[in-house]
Point group: C2
Chain length 363, copies 2
Amino acid sequence: MPKLNSLQKKLPLTVKKERDAVVLVNQLLLPGALKFIRLTTYHEAIKAIKKMNVRGAQAIGATGAGGIFLASLEYRGSDVRKMISFLRQAGRQIMKARPTARNLAWGVEQMLKIAQGANVKIIRQKIDRAYQDLLQSEVKNNLLIGKYGASLIKDGDHIETHCNAGSLSAIWFGTATAPMYTAHLEGKKIKVLVDETRPWFQGSRLTAWEMSRANIPYHINIDSANAFLMSHKMVDLIIVGADRITKNGDTANKIGTCALAMVAKNYNIPFYVAAVSATIDFSLNSGKEIRIEDRDDEEVIADVSYWHKSVAPKDAKAYNPVFDVTPAKFISGIITEYGILKPSEIKGLEKKIRREEKGNLVL
Amino acid sequence: MPKLNSLQKKLPLTVKKERDAVVLVNQLLLPGALKFIRLTTYHEAIKAIKKMNVRGAQAIGATGAGGIFLASLEYRGSDVRKMISFLRQAGRQIMKARPTARNLAWGVEQMLKIAQGANVKIIRQKIDRAYQDLLQSEVKNNLLIGKYGASLIKDGDHIETHCNAGSLSAIWFGTATAPMYTAHLEGKKIKVLVDETRPWFQGSRLTAWEMSRANIPYHINIDSANAFLMSHKMVDLIIVGADRITKNGDTANKIGTCALAMVAKNYNIPFYVAAVSATIDFSLNSGKEIRIEDRDDEEVIADVSYWHKSVAPKDAKAYNPVFDVTPAKFISGIITEYGILKPSEIKGLEKKIRREEKGNLVL
């Protein structure tokens, strides 16, 4: 892809490693302003995740891993065992910042498992290098998702997506957006239908911003317009991201994804999930075991704002589950760095990944 | 129902006839303030409908009929034919104010068809009485919908609804809410799950306000949380309103209704439409013939307001269809003043209504 450079100029790295810091795009300020947050402690990493300065499965995972990298710099002593114990307790705290995205625990685990060595300095160096590698390898994975996913996209296609599984949700290039960016760079004329994604408007705020930056034509729609759009043949393909995928292919993603998949099934519109393998939780057999985060009522009520003010009655309460689980039977395929898999093929990936990791250890 | 009085104190008449005016609840100010608009010309009626000071199929229909009543007062001459021609052109203009709700044309037609008589004064009196009758008879119809619909509700039921097909969408008591109010007055403990209903938040603003006034427990949820709520067995029954029902039972209603019905089908949750027969358009065979109103992009984009400001990129465009059509096969039943009908029974209602109307004419 000759024009990848051009996209690099338009879309910043969402999570970036510096010598002694992790720098994040402050997603709470988009699309109004593109500003960055510099983290220097693992507590700051936890805060950025909790407050949603950073969100999106891969970006959260990379920030969580970054928290361990920062903790390795924060440890002042020279005792290897104490250092590892310090890193582990940091890891436990980081993993609790948000419960649903598998990538958060994965990111922390990736760092902790290489945290061993003869002395503190060596461990620190290993973590530094491993963190650098993790960020790079995740971008490579997303480029692969782009390559595989773009094969599903025809010239002229209208692609609907929910929430933001874009470059901002990743380190760069995104998961659900990766096939769109690749198709766009290949010269295919596509249009993206952006679900606004209540209650946080990640679609209107973030995906729309990305499409605008990348010069990909897009339209925003309210989440529940999906049946109208599909019944009017305005959608050719749907690609969404994932926060956690279980062995049977069930997929937790932003609230509203499941309804979208069910509506798509009724209209026979292909519904794809795009995710790196780090999103797969091989310890869970099905989506029923996934813990779904329930956030504050206020996110739904107080920002119900027509004319920019709260409009629900003062005594209003709200249900605010922020993810839902799409059963595997509604998913046409899962686009990963290993290719496009049927949901039923997900469990087979476990052995493959374990074998590769073993290979890496031998090297 | 001994406590109907108590509800009357809490919920105002949405459309009220005075001697020379039509008084509406100004729905744009709710839930912040309960204020009224006094219309004295049919142009004001058109404006109130277009600007959505009044919305909801029945309330729009009653306002449209009120427009003809006002036009009959506005006509200054003494020529019967000129008066009728004046009323007809007013009717044509009123019907164009919003395209989707069948009740608007119905309301205008009800007034125009009795607009005949020996002189202007007699016609004016006939219209005055007919308008009074229309308002009263619509409330009676809604009480019947309440009676029939409440038979579907068990003590302890959680009932989900979309948009506002409440008292505010009607003259009083509502359509989708009628079974809820009746069940509540009968002493059944119910809880209402209110879809916030983007982009105008009629759920959070209006249905929540009604439930709050009527002391019925409720929770607001984002529209696309429906699959989560149903998969967690938090919904026993769904009742929504309708803007236009075709002969085959297809139903146009607020955007998002169709997706809700499709999700409900997947979870085997009963999905009912509540509407007066005036909502049925016997001239249309199926929902494919219904014209769906497309409103301004701005309603979706500019009020995408987290922290009370617009957050979509400046160049953003949006699709903003404001209704969708739920195919009859997703509808468990249609609750009307004639009882609960299967969608396939709707077409049979035409003869019955024609017979009744003939009967009325003979009287």
